[in-house]
Every structure is written in structure tokens, then in C-alpha cells.
């Protein structure tokens, strides 16, 4: 009788001993987050409303930086166009290639784990300056790639000298590093129920039909994740444009990341560069939101 009156309250929060221990585990991360992410995040917002050359103290100028960015700066529109061009080539290219390779590697063959590792390795070098320098050397006019083309009697291509080709060259560097997306697709492919394939085969479905009607819908959630992550990365690209082509030729690869770096550290317009970075942040947020809103129509979740 006495026991029936005892109610066991669940641990719903509050400063309990358990929560204190949990907080201790995460407080170091929180400290790092506040210092290295939150502080620059908020500082850049404040600086974006100032005229700040990094040598003197910043002086408040309101929305002048933003107004100038949209009304007077032709370079901003060029950089935005280049960035969007880079993104819309790189993201589909990377995701599609990752899916194709994942499907090829989704078999139980001898040495398949080794092949999966080999294809994954380039993605470990993402953002590497050394790899970008290597890419530059490979794609020089008399580099290895043109030598290979020469073997099959294709005339040499001006990979970095031709403004149209230069952006393709840096896109290829990013697409080459598809390993992380491939690994995610691989795990998604393995989770597609075998019964669906068997049933489709029994019904006489072709491989192409099976792919579009079974495989693709079942992995849309991972595809969605990959697209979001690659979109965010691509819009913020800097290393490949800076190292391989230095924004050229003729500003053909002058992505927004490069523009804001140049404005901040070469032209000493830190406030203006911060405004550019916030515009880039807003663009990323809008594009991500669009993807999330439209995802209801095409992304399938098991639950």
C-alpha cells in the first residue's frame, strides 16, 4: 500500500548531478565553440557595419558596406556568378559521381575494401594546399594531363589560361574528392531491402527501372544530406581558386571566398569583407532552406 503511493519522477532536467557531469564533458567543447566560432561570428557581424582597416579602430558606418556591395561593386556580382557557376557544376558532379562509384563498389568482390579505401583517400586531402599545387602542376600547358591527351591525339587544353576552362579545372579538383559522399551512399545502398529488388526482378523490371524506382527513392535521404553538405562547402570555396588559379585568369575563378579575403587582407577593408561574408552566409542559408522545404516532395524516410 505504501509502495503504490511512491511515484518515481523521471529525470526531466534541472541541475542534477547527472546533468552536471554531462555539462563537464561538453564544457570544453562549448568553450572552444564560443571562442573560435561564436566570437568571430558575432565580431564579423559587428565589423560589417563599420569602416575597419585592421590598423585603426573601427568606425560605425551603418549599412554603407551592404549598400555599396549591392549598388556599386561590379566585382561582387562577378564573384557571385563565378561562385554559383562553381557550385552548380561541382555539387551535382560530385554527388552523381559518388553515387555511380558507390554502386560499382557495392559488391562483395575480392579486394573491394581496398578499392573503397583508395577512392576515399582524396577526400581526406580536402582543402589541402599541397594537393592544389599538385593539381596546378598536373594541369599546366605542358603538364601530365595534356601529355595524356597527346597520347590519344587530342590537342592540349589551356586548363588554367583559358577563362572558360579555368573554372572547370578547379571544379574537377573538388569533384575528384568525392570519397566522403561515396561512403555515405555505400552505406545507404546496403540498407535498401533486398526483398524489393527480388520482387522487382520477379516482376520483370529492367535494371534501369529498378534503379529509378527502387534504389534512388530509397537513398534520397542520404542524397539530400550529401547535397546540403556539398552545397555549403562549395559556396565557401577558397583554397583551390587561390592556389590553382589565384582568381584568374581575368577573374574567371574569383569566387566570393577570394574576394572577401582580398578585400580584408590586401585592401585592408575588413568591415567590407565582413559584410560580404554575411551576404554569403545569407545566400547559403536561403539555398539550404529552399532544399529543406522542397525535400518534402522528393526525400523518402523509412519512418
Amino acid at each position: 500500500m505504501a509502495n503504490s503511493k511512491v511515484k518515481i519522477k523521471p529525470n526531466c532536467g534541472g541541475w542534477t548531478k547527472r546533468n552536471k557531469i554531462g555539462f563537464m564533458y561538453v564544457c570544453i567543447w562549448i568553450f572552444g565553440f564560443l571562442l573560435f566560432q561564436m566570437y568571430p561570428f558575432i565580431s564579423s557581424l559587428i565589423y560589417s557595419f563599420t569602416d575597419y582597416d585592421i590598423f585603426d579602430k573601427p568606425s560605425f558606418i551603418g549599412l554603407d558596406n551592404y549598400i555599396k556591395l549591392f549598388t556599386k561593386d561590379k566585382e561582387f556580382w562577378n564573384s557571385l556568378t563565378v561562385t554559383l557557376k562553381y557550385t552548380f557544376i561541382t555539387v551535382p558532379g560530385k554527388v552523381v559521381l559518388a553515387l555511380i562509384i558507390a554502386m560499382i563498389l557495392n559488391r562483395e568482390l575480392k579486394g573491394i575494401n581496398f578499392m573503397r579505401t583508395v577512392y576515399y583517400i582524396p577526400s581526406l586531402l580536402s582543402g589541402s594546399v599541397a594537393v592544389a599545387i599538385l593539381w596546378k602542376v598536373l594541369f599546366m600547358n605542358d603538364g601530365f594531363i595534356n601529355s595524356l591527351l597527346g597520347v590519344v591525339h587530342i590537342p592540349p587544353v589551356k586548363w588554367m589560361g583559358n577563362p572558360s576552362m579555368a573554372v572547370i579545372t578547379i571544379c574537377m579538383l573538388e569533384i575528384w574528392q568525392f570519397g566522403s559522399s561515396m561512403v555515405l551512399f555505400l552505406s545507404a545502398l546496403k540498407q535498401v531491402p533486398r526483398e524489393l529488388y527480388e520482387a522487382a526482378r520477379i516482376d520483370g523490371a529492367t535494371k534501369i527501372r529498378i534503379f529509378f524506382k527502387i534504389t534512388l527513392p530509397m537513398i534520397t535521404s542520404i542524397a539530400f544530406f550529401n547535397i546540403i553538405m556539398q552545397l555549403i562547402t562549395a559556396l565557401q570555396n577558397f583554397t583551390s581558386a587561390f592556389v590553382v588559379t589565384n582568381g584568374g585568369p581575368n577573374k574567371a575563378t574569383y569566387v566570393l571566398g577570394m574576394k572577401l579575403y582580398t578585400d580584408a587582407f590586401k585592401y585592408f577593408k575588413m568591415g567590407y569583407a565582413c559584410a560580404t561574408s554575411w551576404i554569403l552566409f545569407i545566400i547559403i542559408m536561403i539555398m539550404t532552406l529552399i532544399l529543406f522545404v522542397t525535400s518534402k516532395k522528393w526525400v523518402y524516410y523509412d519512418n
Binding site: Y25, I28, F36, I54, I133, M160, G161, F242, K266
Partner: protein, 453 residues
């Protein structure tokens, strides 16, 4: 057991987080071309001292020859002054200016810095960063420098804030063998008109040859600005008045000239030379002797000459218009040396630079790694011992007789330089007409000038 496990987990988590945080070091990353090597790790303070020893940080950029010579001079000084330790910070030229600006802004600049001649005036206009050598007459002897030279290079508002490292100039290197093959007479003075005519004719007759090895950035300093200086007699931007010295028509004229040079085959197509921007000596066509001329500063024309070991090279006078109001070109300095005003050991740093410039052993070691030495004592010593590259000396001698004036200042700030380069690229790639490119550039320059404090 449970308590030990929790404590262990907490400690491991802390170590992981600490490792991740220490990865976010403020130590500068390697630049894109060439590695940055440091002899010591400490960059967070401008200099430290103990009771026994003073440590100075000395930062410069350069190739192997310059690095070796400078390190040798540091060794010499340290042997003579065991209480002083100098930490050498060698760098590539790429990204150097960005690094210096960041260090000056956040107070981590070394005690002694080599400075780029284009960017130093901009730094000086933005703050009081550098020591005035005139305040240390007992520690730094300026008597070996020509007064006119040092007043033009290194003196800003009557303060000697930087010491020129040498006498240099813009040079036109000629490959004598290629000139002979293409029938170019090197004894004839080049004019802008003859460069265009001879270059077009050369390329028509020898399609695999080009007249001039250059890139779009070099053209800013070697064609665009001198062409205008010869027309106007003034710098691209007149600093005292904060205005452009040229008219729209004059700018269109020079851009049309550059466009004609590209389309006529005087210069290699921009698409092909883009790969070797900043490193034209690595262009395989130059190395194969398919260019008759190449542009380069006298302080590094040895790079161009060394790239064609089987050919004989010389220097010729820069292009001079027959209707010029001013020669446009001038004797210059390749770099400056400065002492950080916030250094904890200003006097020691100044004393080291006095040794660097005025000591005979240092002069003999440094030779011409920074072009012809700036002091008369060094030049005499090096001439006596035949240490100077005769081609470099010829180039500087050619410039010494010209009456152009230095245009360093707003003209050579990063933003204005980029505007110059962009307008050249837009006509070189056929993206704009000279008129459109000129109009766009003038708008941008006016915007820059209106933002000056």
C-alpha cells in the same frame, strides 16, 4: 570502478578537446609556392631577452642565393656579438605582403623586416610602425648612401623609416641568340612604336618566336605606367593631389597599344602566359630561347639568365617614346629594410642593420643578392673584387641616366595595382574594348581615391 571509469572518460575527453584546440594555432601556414622555413618557433613576441642574451627576429623573402648570403651575415654578426641571437625567418615572396600587414596589425611583427617597395608607403600611411633611423645617428651610419638616393627611397615626411637594400631598376633582358635568329638589332633604342612593329614582323616571319616574355601583372609596371609617365611626366596617381595624372584618352591609348601587342604577336597570348604569371623564367618557351626579350627587375634578372644557360644574354635600355616629356623609367631600390618600432631591442636591431650595410665583410658576403649595393663603399669593394654580375651593373647603369621619378605610393597600393592588372587582362582576353576597360578603371580609381582618409 564506476568512478574510475567516469574520471578516465572525463580526462580523455579533456585531452581530446585540448588537442583539437591546440590545432587552431595562430602560427602562419606555409605559403602556396615555396616553403616558409623558420630557424626558431617563437613568433608570438617581437623579441625576448634574458639577462645574458638578446633575441632578434629578422624576416625577409628571397631565393636560395639571397638566403644563404643573409644567413652567412647573421652568423658573422652573432660570432662578433655572442650576446645577440638572430632568428631568421625566410619566406617566399608570395603572400609576404599579406603576412606583414597582418603582423603589423596584431603586433606580432619581427624586429627587422624586409619590405616590398610597393606596399611600404601604404603601411606607413596607416600607422607609426617603423623606427626613424635619423634618431640613431650614432648607431647607423648613412654616410655611404647618396643623399639624393636615400631622400627619395626610404625617407617619408623627413623621417628615414626604411633603408634601401640596393640600387635597382626595371630591366629588359635580351637573348642575343634569339635576337640574331629573328634579325633584331639590339643596338637600336627600343621605342613603343618599334616594339609593336618589330614584334609583329618577328612573329609573322617566325611564328614560333615572340618578341617579349611578360605577363599581365608585369605589364602594369613595365608598359602601362611608364607609357603614361612618358606622356604626362607624372605618376599614375599624384599622391599630393589624390588624383589621376592622365586623361581618359591617354589611358585608352595605352590600353589599345597593349591590345595591339597581344593581337599582333608581340606578347604571347594571355591564355598561354597565364600559367607562368609571376615566374616568367619558368615559361618553357623562354627556356627554349623562343623569346627575344623578357622583362624583369634588375635584382632578379639572374633568374631569367640562368634559365637559358645555352644562350648569351644582355640588357638593353627600356622603351623610350620619341615624343616623351619624361623618361618615365628611373633607378629604384629592390626592397627596404625596416625596424619595428615596437621591438623590445630597437637599438640592437639598428646596430645589426648598420653591420649589414656598412661592414666590409658583410658587404662582400651579400654582393648583389639584392641588386647593386646601395652604399658607395660596398659598390667599390664589390667592383674591386669583381663580385657583381656585369649584366646587373649594366642594367642599373642604364637606369641611372634616366630622369624618371619613383611612383611608389597610392599608385602601387594593392587595390590600385589590381585595377591596373584587371584592365590589362580585360583587353588581353578580349573581354572589353580599351574604351570600356578605361572607363571601368577610372570609376574604380575614383572610388578608391574618394575612400582615402
Amino acid at each position: 570502478m564506476r568512478k574510475v571509469t567516469k574520471l578516465t572518460c572525463l580526462l580523455l575527453t579533456g585531452m581530446m578537446a585540448a588537442t583539437a584546440l591546440t590545432g587552431c594555432t595562430n602560427k602562419p601556414a606555409a605559403t602556396s609556392s615555396g616553403a616558409e622555413t623558420e630557424k626558431a618557433a617563437d613568433q608570438t613576441t617581437a623579441g625576448k631577452s634574458t639577462a645574458e642574451q638578446i633575441t632578434l627576429r629578422f624576416m625577409w623573402w628571397g631565393g636560395d642565393a639571397r638566403n644563404e648570403a643573409t644567413l652567412a651575415v647573421i652568423d658573422q654578426y652573432q660570432k662578433l656579438h655572442p650576446e645577440v641571437k638572430i632568428e631568421a625567418e625566410m619566406n617566399s615572396d608570395q603572400g609576404y605582403i599579406d603576412k606583414v600587414s597582418t603582423m603589423l596589425a596584431n603586433g606580432t611583427a619581427p624586429d627587422i623586416m624586409q619590405q616590398n617597395v610597393d606596399s611600404l608607403p601604404d603601411f606607413i600611411s596607416r600607422g607609426d610602425f617603423f623606427v626613424n633611423f635619423n634618431d640613431y645617428p650614432d648607431l647607423f651610419d648613412t654616410s655611404g648612401f647618396e643623399k639624393t638616393f636615400i631622400s627619395q627611397f626610404g625617407t617619408f615626411d623627413d623621417k628615414l623609416l626604411a633603408i634601401p637594400t640596393g640600387m635597382s631598376c626595371l630591366a629588359t633582358v635580351a637573348n642575343e641568340d634569339a635576337a640574331k635568329t629573328c634579325g633584331i638589332d639590339l643596338s637600336r633604342q627600343i621605342t613603343w612604336e618599334s616594339m609593336l612593329e618589330d614584334g609583329k614582323k618577328l612573329h609573322e616571319q617566325n611564328p614560333e618566336y615572340f618578341y617579349m616574355n611578360t605577363d599581365t601583372r608585369i605589364l602594369c609596371e613595365y608598359v602601362l605606367r611608364p607609357y603614361l609617365r612618358q606622356l604626362t611626366g607624372q605618376s599614375f596617381i599624384i599622391d599630393s593631389e589624390k588624383k589621376m595624372s592622365f586623361t581618359r584618352e591617354q589611358l585608352v591609348e595605352v590600353l589599345q597599344y597593349i591590345k595591339d601587342c597581344y593581337s599582333g604577336g608581340v606578347f604571347e597570348p594571355a591564355e598561354d602566359s597565364a600559367t607562368f604569371k609571376g615566374q616568367i623564367q619558368t615559361n618553357p618557351m623562354w627556356m627554349d630561347g623562343k623569346f627575344v626579350f623578357a622583362y624583369g627587375p634588375s635584382s632578379s634578372i639572374n633568374l631569367l639568365i640562368d634559365a637559358v644557360p645555352d644562350n648569351t644574354c644582355t640588357v638593353v635600355q627600356m622603351p623610350l617614346s620619341t615624343e616623351r616629356v619624361n623618361d618615365g623609367f628611373f633607378a629604384d631600390t629592390p626592397q627596404y629594410m625596416t625596424v619595428n618600432k615596437n621591438s623590445k631591442h630597437v637599438e640592437e636591431a639598428v646596430k645589426f642593420l648598420d653591420y649589414f650595410y656598412n661592414n666590409s665583410e658583410a658587404q662582400e658576403t651579400l654582393k648583389d643578392v639584392r641588386s647593386v649595393p646601395p652604399t658607395s663603399t660596398a659598390r667599390n669593394l664589390c667592383a674591386e673584387k669583381k663580385l657583381l654580375n656585369p649584366v646587373v651593373v649594366s642594367a642599373v647603369d642604364l637606369a641611372a641616366g634616366l630622369n624618371g621619378k619613383s611612383d611608389k605610393g597610392y599608385t602601387t597600393s594593392a587595390e590600385v595595382y589590381a585595377i591596373q592588372e584587371d584592365m590589362i587582362e580585360s583587353v588581353a582576353y578580349g573581354q572589353s574594348t580599351p574604351e570600356d576597360a578605361a572607363d571601368n578603371a577610372i570609376d574604380l580609381i575614383n572610388d578608391y581615391l574618394s575612400g582615402l582618409k
